[in-house]
């Protein structure tokens, strides 16, 4: 994911620079505080969580590590619908982000001219309004009987989405469509920025060359622009899919009990039901599933040097 903000290739001088003589321990001193922080507050917690997930007991009598792996099985068999839902919602949101984000990134990179900075500001600025406030605004936008729902109804879009099970009756709020809409909205900038970075690096003369070779605009896009923007597509997809799969805010604020995702289950188990082993097991399954999916995805898209 370093590709997101990676600078153009380092100057050649860096490679030929003579090795430093003094301060062989300097890098370790520089790393020590930060790495210590990550080990104590990132790696160690993971180990604690792993141990919690194989404990049995109760809040009153305390927990004990009993290597009770059945918790994993129980958690999976009980909550697999939420897992499937998380993957489906996150994947839909990611695809929508790609479809919506690509034209905007392309516009900023190639067509915006002197408006480029202004559009960039407008993409980033919403970040500074708390995302919870903005997500709540979607309640107003998608409100029952509001203009958006009215328009969708008039265009018979709701008939189709009802048939697909994305919406219910005359409502959009509290349906899967509202949750996916919120997820798409929330993570769209995470798609646009890496796409823009990789599009911006493309040499405009390549487009001219393609045109000189009688490629039509769409062919140029398919054969030149899109392949060259692949690093952006891959890091954008990851940056959107991972947080979307673990999110519980959109499902909670815009959805209903039928749209609960894994994140909602983990949150409830940890903070309300206080069933720590199940919550820890669920969280571990989510992590493993996502790491596995990322690995396969990066292999398939052939950009292993990306991360």
């Amino acid at each position: 994911m370093a590709a997101v903000t990676e600078a153009p290739s380092p100057p050649a001088a860096q490679q030929t620079r003579p090795p430093r003589r003094r301060g062989r321990l300097t890098p370790y001193w520089l790393l020590l505080p930060g790495i210590l922080w990550l080990v104590v507050f990132f790696a160690l917690p993971m180990i604690y969580q792993a141990s919690t997930s194989v404990q049995t007991g109760s809040l009153e009598h305390g927990y004990e590590v009993t290597w009770h792996f059945a918790t994993y099985w129980d958690a999976l068999s009980q909550y697999w619908p939420q897992f499937v839902r998380s993957v489906l919602y996150a994947a839909s949101a990611t695809i929508l982000c790609l479809l919506l984000g690509y034209p905007l990134a392309y516009l900023i990179a190639f067509r915006a001219g002197r408006w480029r900075n202004l559009i960039m500001i407008l993409v980033i600025a919403p970040f500074f309004t708390s995302f919870l406030i903005r997500t709540l605004a979607w309640k107003t936008i998608l409100a029952d009987g509001g203009p958006v729902v009215g328009a969708l109804n008039a265009l018979h879009v709701l008939d189709v989405t009802n048939w697909l099970g994305w919406t219910a009756g005359d409502r959009v709020l509290a349906t899967p469509m509202a949750v996916v809409c919120g997820l798409t909205y929330n993570f769209l900038p995470f798609m646009i920025l890496p796409l823009y970075t990789s599009l911006e690096r493309i040499d405009g003369r390549l487009h001219e060359a393609a045109g000189d070779l009688y490629a039509r605009p769409f062919t140029t896009f398919r054969k030149v622009t899109f392949p060259l923007s692949m690093p952006g597509v891959v890091s954008g997809t990851l940056l959107t899919f991972i947080p979307a799969a673990g999110d519980y805010v959109n499902a909670d604020l815009l959805g209903s009990t039928d749209t609960r995702m894994v994140g909602n289950v983990i949150q409830t188990q940890f903070l309300r039901i206080l069933d720590y082993p199940t919550a820890a097991a669920l969280s571990f399954i989510l992590m493993a599933a996502i790491l596995a999916m990322i690995t396969i995805y990066i292999r398939k898209s052939g950009t292993e040097d990306l991360v």
Binding site: M1, A2, V4, T5, E6, A7, P8, P10, P11, R17, P19, P27, Y28, L30, L31, P33, I35, L38, F41, P45, M46, Y48, L100, L104, A105, Y106, L107, R111, I121, L122, V123, I124, A125, P126, T129, S130, L132, R134, T135, L136, A137, T140, Y185, I192, L238, I242, P243, G246, Y248, V249, L253, V262, I266, Q267, F270, Y276, A280, S283, F284, I294
Partner: protein
């Protein structure tokens, strides 16, 4: 036909602007509804125009208190994460050492982990250590997840730096401290500033990790979350609008300063 051709040529621009509209629509709603006078506890439906909330932004119990807690945490988290992250970034770019690969993946992992997983694991750690959940546990967690983002931002800048500039400084008899303060730091500053800004925004806006590790401390996002259940005061929209406007103004001012500097140099 002329229209179809025009549409074809400008399709990308139109689609892009539509996406921009989608991105900004909630902000428009937030702004408009900051002038609303809601009838009930919830501010989801337009009733009547009113400036009340703008005249009295702190009129809601506990909201400005939560805002101040969020600001404090964000400032300290930014300082902590920027300091630790900048050091790591320099070590990674400027030195070849053993365990470099391990360090890189340790930096990468927090960014590739769903937040809820990190939040839950931190909670198990704090529970096991018997730590009192509150300001400090929030701050510790925020420094942790901001750290990687700072490293990435600073690394990008340091990587594009020409090391010959520092060699030149040394050839001119600058000591290591002088070289660092007068040459290295000023060149790396934009990267460090970008990392710090990112850390501030991430920390100030974080809800998921805070939700798990806050105990009874209420940060601003926690307050908004609670109000979604209890009733949303209009003042929330006022704060949201103000944040948006301040951010845009700050960016515009910094751009104007940058432009003027560039012109002066030219």
């Amino acid at each position: 036909m002329a229209f179809v051709n025009w549409l074809k040529r400008h399709l990308v621009v139109l689609a892009g602007l539509l996406t921009l509209g989608y991105l900004l629509l909630p902000n428009v709603i937030v702004t408009v509804f900051s002038f609303n006078k809601p009838k009930g506890r919830f501010n989801y439906q337009w009733q009547a125009f009113s400036m009340d909330a703008w005249k009295d932004p702190c009129g809601v119990a506990d909201m400005c208190g939560s805002l101040s807690i969020s600001l404090q945490i964000a400032v300290w988290a930014t300082i902590g994460a920027t300091a630790l992250g900048t050091m790591i970034a320099f070590a990674l770019v400027r030195y070849r050492f053993r365990a470099r690969g391990t360090v890189s993946s340790l930096i990468f992992l927090p960014m590739a982990m769903p937040e809820v997983v990190m939040a839950a694991s931190l909670l198990t750690l704090f529970l096991n250590m018997g730590a009192q959940l509150g300001f400090w546990t929030i701050l510790i967690s925020h420094i942790m997840f901001c750290l990687s983002f700072v490293v990435v931002a600073v690394k990008a800048r340091v990587m594009s730096m020409d090391p010959r500039l520092e060699q030149a400084a040394q050839d001119l008899y600058a000591g290591p401290v002088q070289t660092f303060l007068r040459v290295t730091l000023p060149i790396a500053a934009p990267g460090i500033a970008a990392g710090a800004m990112l850390a501030f925004a991430l920390s100030f806006d974080d809800f998921i990790i805070t939700n798990f590790n806050a105990g009874s401390t209420v940060t601003f996002p926690m307050f908004v979350w609670g109000s979604a259940q209890r009733g949303t005061p209009v003042q929330i929209n006022v704060i949201g609008t103000a944040m948006f406007v301040i951010a845009v103004l700050l960016v515009l001012v910094s751009m104007a300063i940058g432009n003027r500097r560039a012109r002066q140099k030219a």
